[in-house]
């Protein structure tokens, strides 16, 4: 058994951080957080904080990497060294390479890359704090940053996690639950079209449990999506109203 595992993670229907089973941690979304980027955003689930910056579309060099038919999407997911309890060694890891790959593939589904042949769109994501559900926060921030950069997209991507903890199906798995719980299942969707563009799952689930998780994640994604839309709307409203602090 893993050291440090609490005896119970859910007590009287409440999770250790006080949440109900199907309750999100506090969520926060913000765009235009990095001045130098073409688009940028921050997305937060409780203590999990992602910052994304988008540069491009811009001509790709060296030339032999260009795709004559579409923009190439380049995505880098990175953990800040002090984002977790055990310091993360700087540089790429096998984990960050895999996550960068699946995030890139999910993002590519929404971008009209064919409008920008021979260019590259760079998406850089920094996990400032990591407390579970990091790749979902990363994807939410990246999608907002793309929107902020004005990159033509079919729709936003919204992501959240479902999971199984102490036998219960829960929404928005935090770090402790991920570490000591039974199942973590990150899901990303294009919510309006009901399309699942990212899906991973680790741990044991029956078919029924899987379907329940998926349902719950789907509902969660709709909530995330709503927050993302509001964030964009509010920001542009503030800009229209001349708020300099945006």
């Amino acid at each position: 058994m893993k050291k440090g595992k609490p005896e119970r993670l859910i007590i009287d229907g409440k999770r250790l951080d006080g949440r109900d089973l199907e309750e999100f941690r506090e969520m926060e979304a913000k765009i235009k957080v990095i001045k130098s980027a073409d688009g940028s955003a921050m997305f937060r689930f409780g203590n999990t904080i992602a910052i994304a910056a988008v540069y491009g579309p811009r001509p790709m060099f060296p030339k032999h990497l260009q795709n004559p038919e579409r923009a190439v999407i380049n995505l880098r997911y990175n953990m800040v060294p002090f984002s977790t309890e055990d310091r993360v060694r700087p540089g790429v890891s096998r984990r960050s390479i895999e996550i960068s790959k699946i995030l890139k593939e999910a993002i590519a589904e929404t971008v009209f890359t064919e409008e920008f042949p021979r260019t590259v769109i760079d998406i850089y994501i920094e996990m400032i704090q990591a407390d579970g559900t990091t790749r979902c926060a990363a994807l939410n921030a990246a999608s907002l940053a793309l929107a902020d950069a004005g990159v033509p997209m079919k729709d936003l991507i919204a992501a959240c996690s479902a999971g199984k903890v102490d036998g219960h199906i829960v929404l928005d798995v935090n770090g402790k639950e991920d570490n000591y719980g039974e199942v973590d299942m990150p899901v990303a969707m294009i919510p309006r079209e009901n399309k699942v563009v990212l899906l991973q799952m680790d741990g044991l689930l029956t078919k029924e449990e899987f379907e329940k998780c998926l349902q719950l994640a789907k509902k969660g994604c709709m909530q995330v999506y709503k927050l993302q839309k509001e964030c964009i709307k509010n920001t542009y409203k503030q800009i229209a109203e001349g708020d300099e602090n945006v």
């Binding site: 058994m1 893993k2 050291k3 440090g4 004559p68 038919e69 096998r94 984990r95 390479i97 895999e98 960068s100 790959k101 699946i102 593939e105 999910a106 590519a108 589904e109 299942m185 294009i190 079209e193 009901n194 399309k195 699942v196 563009v197 990212l198 899906l199 991973q200 799952m201 680790d202 741990g203 044991l204 689930l205 029956t206 078919k207 899987f210 379907e211 998926l214 789907k218």
Partner: protein
């Protein structure tokens, strides 16, 4: 880059047929040989159609991770050697190779098929490390399935070498006890092409596919899922794929059991 072959594959699928004559939900022939690499503690050579994967299990003794002082360690590594691929880039493994290793790793780890506590030699000090090395000898598609089958077959085939605690030496010439492996996780990969779900895509199909997903099961339980490659699945498609993964997983599980 217009690829006529890709278009052909997609057109065939539209007509419910496949480039190699299979039905949409038909796997290619699976051949499994175990124990053919004598330097490894366990090994398997898996042929899935023309896809050929060698998997070797090696064991060593190490300090355990601090948060699991009583458990052995699993390390899954994949290599895509240039002999199997006309376009080879020297250097560290690429993202495809890393994804392959990590998906196979999670299928095994999450299934609980290895009793890691039995691989503890001395709590907090010495545990067995189990290296599962996947070596791709030919890639004709669906490497994840072939590698996942190879990995569990090699683990079932593996015997623990003798370890002398006093001298801290491993005697590889004496392998007696089997690895404590109790379940058989099986990954099943489904691709989506032109809205149709197809099982076990070959290489031409992988080049033409819109989306890909791998579901690893042990009996009636899912133990790992990985959607890869872009594209999307609907909720309904995902439910059907779970059914397929469980049904086909059962068949392959029987096959593996008969070979080891």
């Amino acid at each position: 880059m217009f690829k006529p072959e890709m278009e052909y594959v997609r057109k065939l699928i539209e007509e419910d047929s496949r480039i190699d004559g299979r039905k949409l939900d038909e796997m290619r022939k699976i051949e499994i040989q175990t124990g053919i690499y004598p330097k490894a503690e366990g090994s398997a050579l898996v042929k899935l159609g023309e896809t050929l994967v060698a998997v070797g299990v090696k064991m060593g003794v190490k300090e355990p991770f601090p948060d699991t002082p009583d458990e052995g360690i699993l390390i899954v590594n994949a290599e895509f050697p240039p002999i199997a691929s006309p376009e080879f880039e020297p250097g560290p493994p690429g993202e495809e190779t890393i994804e392959l290793a990590r998906v196979v790793d999670r299928g095994i780890r999450e299934s609980g098929c290895i009793d890691f506590e039995k691989l503890c030699i001395k709590s907090g000090e010495k545990v067995w490390t189990v290296f599962v090395d996947i070596h791709v000898l030919n890639n004709d598609g669906d490497l994840i399935t072939a590698s996942g089958i190879g990995a569990i077959a090699a683990l079932l085939n593996a015997k623990i070498p003798k370890y002398n605690e006093e001298t801290d030496e491993i005697d590889y010439s004496q392998r007696t006890e089997s690895l404590p492996v109790s379940k058989i996780p099986v990954p099943i990969t489904v691709a989506k092409i032109n809205g149709k779900l197809i099982l076990d895509p070959c290489k031409e199909e992988e080049e033409a596919m819109d989306a890909r997903i791998t579901i690893t099961t042990i009996e009636d339980t899912i133990c790992a899922i990985q959607k890869g490659h872009g594209g999307y699945f609907t909720e309904d498609e995902l439910k059907r794929i779970v059914d397929i993964a469980m049904e086909k997983g059962k068949e392959i599980r029987e096959l593996i059991r008969s070979k080891v």
